[in-house]
Symmetry: D2
Subunit: 414 residues, 4 copies
Amino acid sequence: MNQYQESVFLQGHIIDSLVLAKVLDLILMMGGTFDLEEVHIGKTREEPSRALIRIRTASKALLVDILKAIQPHGASVKQEADCRTEGAPADGVFPEDFYATTHLPTQIRFNGRWLDVDRIEMDLAILVNEEGSAAQTLSMGEVRRGDRVVVGREGVRVIPLQRPPERDVFGFMESQVSAERPHGHIIADIAARMRQLRERHRRGQPESKVLLAGGPAIIHAGGRDALAWLIEEGFVHILFCGNALAAHDMEADLYGTSLGYGLTAGRAIPHGHEHHLRTINRIRTIGSIEAAVTSGVIKQGIMAACVRRGIPVVMAGTIRDDGPLPGVITDSVRAQRAMRAAVPGVGLALLVASTLHAVATGNLLPATVPTVCVDVNPSVPTKLADRGSFQAVGLVMDAASFLSELAGLLGRTT
Amino acid sequence: MNQYQESVFLQGHIIDSLVLAKVLDLILMMGGTFDLEEVHIGKTREEPSRALIRIRTASKALLVDILKAIQPHGASVKQEADCRTEGAPADGVFPEDFYATTHLPTQIRFNGRWLDVDRIEMDLAILVNEEGSAAQTLSMGEVRRGDRVVVGREGVRVIPLQRPPERDVFGFMESQVSAERPHGHIIADIAARMRQLRERHRRGQPESKVLLAGGPAIIHAGGRDALAWLIEEGFVHILFCGNALAAHDMEADLYGTSLGYGLTAGRAIPHGHEHHLRTINRIRTIGSIEAAVTSGVIKQGIMAACVRRGIPVVMAGTIRDDGPLPGVITDSVRAQRAMRAAVPGVGLALLVASTLHAVATGNLLPATVPTVCVDVNPSVPTKLADRGSFQAVGLVMDAASFLSELAGLLGRTT
Amino acid sequence: MNQYQESVFLQGHIIDSLVLAKVLDLILMMGGTFDLEEVHIGKTREEPSRALIRIRTASKALLVDILKAIQPHGASVKQEADCRTEGAPADGVFPEDFYATTHLPTQIRFNGRWLDVDRIEMDLAILVNEEGSAAQTLSMGEVRRGDRVVVGREGVRVIPLQRPPERDVFGFMESQVSAERPHGHIIADIAARMRQLRERHRRGQPESKVLLAGGPAIIHAGGRDALAWLIEEGFVHILFCGNALAAHDMEADLYGTSLGYGLTAGRAIPHGHEHHLRTINRIRTIGSIEAAVTSGVIKQGIMAACVRRGIPVVMAGTIRDDGPLPGVITDSVRAQRAMRAAVPGVGLALLVASTLHAVATGNLLPATVPTVCVDVNPSVPTKLADRGSFQAVGLVMDAASFLSELAGLLGRTT
Amino acid sequence: MNQYQESVFLQGHIIDSLVLAKVLDLILMMGGTFDLEEVHIGKTREEPSRALIRIRTASKALLVDILKAIQPHGASVKQEADCRTEGAPADGVFPEDFYATTHLPTQIRFNGRWLDVDRIEMDLAILVNEEGSAAQTLSMGEVRRGDRVVVGREGVRVIPLQRPPERDVFGFMESQVSAERPHGHIIADIAARMRQLRERHRRGQPESKVLLAGGPAIIHAGGRDALAWLIEEGFVHILFCGNALAAHDMEADLYGTSLGYGLTAGRAIPHGHEHHLRTINRIRTIGSIEAAVTSGVIKQGIMAACVRRGIPVVMAGTIRDDGPLPGVITDSVRAQRAMRAAVPGVGLALLVASTLHAVATGNLLPATVPTVCVDVNPSVPTKLADRGSFQAVGLVMDAASFLSELAGLLGRTT
């Protein structure tokens, strides 16, 4: 009675990456059945595997649902067809049936040729250029009336990730989020990777930048000096943060406090929150963080290191902000755009002590970028690890301890 | 040798509210000594207490620091002087020494008269109008060159909060943040207050609005119907939220899912995150949430209830947002301004399952507004309870259970 | 150069349960290579799959390590041999090389026959009886000098779990631990299962008991009445708890408080912790909980329901206990033994608001018993879900809300 | 109409310690009124304050309730009377109306003289010796039929704590539990105190011992070496732990793993949980931890350091334990007794990464012992800080980072 059927191909590291298991699981879960018409399993890590699966269902609708569900795992229907496109009906609006991207490497078939989708990122649409020679992702806010947008699922394929060849922490199958695992070796693996990336970055090699997205707890908990050192020493190449991290960093320089807690004197200074406001007011008077650093008003810390090393900083505003500081992008769509523009070239992302920045940055990163999420609250790393790539590693620890240990392994002496 | 001295007055419910204890504690902690020149302790809850304290220190600087530290607790120097003001040096910049507000009721002395500071809120400055007849708070972004801003601390006094006369949950001395306390009576007290406020609101009485600031976990965890009911029944009068809550609410209406989890069918629908994007795209096509509701596209839920009841909704954007929906204020400064404008008249604030909105809203609320913070993560209520007023109550529980129990107590049947 | 080799069989639901993927992954991770000599993948949920894998390594030691690592996933070496046994060297001590069990169904080959290992549980040894006709697990404390204990890994096989045929919440592949998922359908699935189990239990069918292991937060948070109702109505058949839950339950009956918080009056009663002590002292005077209930001193609540319904209660002592109550097993080894004795016949385990009881009970349960772990702290369900079976479901919510919703779905009216 | 009245005295640091405020607050909260007949407030930290309060109520019962509620805060009724005693009715049972202790310094009046209660600890009874010349606390399990136990509240007084004279972290008024505060200065204060205590301990001075109660996460997270160093260097003098910490510590020595995670190799070793079991089995074969260390089987780590330095270790069993190890006290009442016996002489308690041990140890400590609670989960320090003494400090951070930083400040080089 399961009279509706379709054959799909799966290809790549489908055993390694659990893709075959997940796809078969989904088919059964949703109420379909399958025949495995052909299975070739690669005998080495390099050799890809291949499966041809015939799906059978009792209704046309269920077949469509199943195809929709398994397509993000890399299953493409057997008979290859071009993808379909449609013009956007208005500025800022996708065609009704737009294809929504995953963060995995993706290709579309157009005029009989498979094109790589550029700047892959999750939850966007795919734009095909006028000549039909190139494809890239596009956010809802950026689409312009008439833009040719991929619709439906035909002619789109997703390539499952390959397990990275190095056997470091980024290659584990199991989730890494636990307060009960030894942090030492994870941080050691991160340090080793950062050392390599610094070398590669100095040689101008691609995908060699280290991005750090962080929250103000870095300052409160005492991780400011370690992070400033990492930046000064060339281990971090892009910084995403908010008004608070920047303000508390400079407050520490001007007043020696953070949120009213003395960082060196070691005592709470009553009503020290004033210092935070006065710091912001001071920088607004000067006009920019750059001017505050170059004029010598701000001497030490994260912002000073970024200015001195020419590190790009994207500061995004939120409704919690005092001030804000000059340079903060208060519009969230513009801030997102600035973050997106900074992502290409990133070879490692460290998301430290900020749920907002961790999730926002995680959304912008392709699944191929190794990502570490550090938070004392386990729910943040869990959220990121749920992204389902081998490359997301969660560490349940406080930001200051993480940054200090990392900097120590990279040669900092205190 | 403690030759520097100053006498300060404390007045009001200084025993009840621990103010006297805190002030004496601060003086000793910081290295000063004191004589209690006069103490009158009110013998009833209504009768205020009064203390005159002579502070002695070994240095002028320490005396200034101590006065700075105890002033937010309501201590005003004995010899009354007018406050000092200075013109703002530029648009968006306060005078260097501006007085930074607390969220407690505050008065300034100007031309020999004590003026109430209007729209009190923490971390702002105080603007005196041209005639010197009125004072109000002012954010850094709003100040214009030449505005007369209070500087220093003289002539400013803060009035400690009075314990509320009703003996409900808002009147407890101890912190209320605990997963180990019975929630039942706390929610009962909130319900009782909401019933009163609805009555008062219907009669057009002041301070009778209920503000709810919430995050998308309300939808994910299954609290959507209860919240929609509370709005429909007139128990909630203002909604603060982000793009995500609104989108997931309408996704639930269009697709029956939230973040890809079927809400009624009870099953995860693979890659259901698409629904979220398609919902946003659909509303962008229609042009506004209002139009989507009035045209019948969106039939049920929180947004539908707000549109039908004419409830103002402030939606603030963040860098995590997809879309965003029409109506989302993407600029954080403008969003903050819209939230601030909605606060006057609020008699109860419910901050549910959103760290960002809870903290941002908490920052805007005077200490006099009873506030409840509900989150399954204890760090959020702790943050709010740290605000130091009797009125902040923290509940460690999931949003859906809270809203369902609350609605049940207010008469909802399921 | 990978000259050492061994062929292993994998059999059962090895795709469904990710077993094949995990085994191949482990081989590669650890530095080996493999050939798939034969793969047969079942085309339906019922038909098992089968794989024959030839493992190659560069050293004998690595080959042994890999076999050790993959054996718990069900891989058994091709040429079948009997398991080896050795006599225990002393009371309470296993032979040096004892086989340590997993919580998956396990068989040993003895005298050419495969024997099921009885009472499977993780981290025990396997005892073969004198006749060599039966095998069962054995804890370290129970072993007696000379007992015949399985050593090494040969002749032992572990059977991967089959996905349960019902498509309820227990059949999902992904981890279920999240505060951001709708709880409603999960609780509905649990309720449905409990309704079935009550029916089966009434008919005397096997594996039909519901075990609840709970902590005192059930009482503090207000879940006492719901749990008592569940017991009275026949939905719960065994209770594991500690001194605190029992004492607070009876304190609520005698004084209307729990930890000094009034449960009905809705107010904190200062120094109410006394009530807890007086309750324990009172029961010690009476001599037993049973006598307190039958004599009418204790009238309502969880303990009263257990006594009236004849529900076995295992109360285990800890170093936190006041008293303790009569009936508390203060010796942890004896308490563990009592818990272990109660496990056979359990068809559903609810672990509610107690890290200690959740982990201790989880350790005793075979992987085949569907298990739900409820805690407001996500780390507890995470720990349990890490057990790696389909059957562990985590719910991040407070105990009272969980029990109330569950009881409501099962017909309780309030 | 408030015709029932009683006068009570409050004496000591009643302003400093908020005692006066709390007492007045309680009287009003519970429905009474008061007159302050006399208030003398000490003008220096050394000079105690004094208040005479006349309480009035509308009913006799309420007056009794209020006296009961304020007594633990140090309020004693004006007209001094001897305490009343009663003989225990049976072994293990207190007289019905026994006085339940707080953890504050306490005195009883007997034959007209005030006697200090020895070994004060919360939730016990007070035993008066036969001669009526001495009083000490007594647990429910220890009482013997006929023992003279204090009943009622008359003639019992509690002395509010004095703020410690040093201005370190233990002297702060506000709760110290926050992940957002700089840990550095808190750890520095702890280190300073430990340096002093080591010196005092070497000189044989009283109250100079450092007690550490810890959980196995110390090992998992990588804090083993730091703790072993602290013990070797004489900074820790008593260890409370469970089976798991000891087993994982020795597993690390024998196998280089903890819970199956390689601590040095930096890789997860599949099914490494076996190592844990084999370690326990090995020590059981040897017979004791001491023998394992002295025979050279166990060479490094926490247990080795304790044996070598002659540090007393109290290991308490739980129902989660495998084995357990020889030396584990499996009976919780006996374990509690052993812990209690070790407490006298303790001048600092560090409760690290174990809810069970933190709470159990906290219950045994007088309020006068400075206590630090470290856990990555904020609910544990919160629980301890709720004990209401100045001396409880909470740190939200992982155990390994805490111990490493602490050891670093005390001179350890890595």
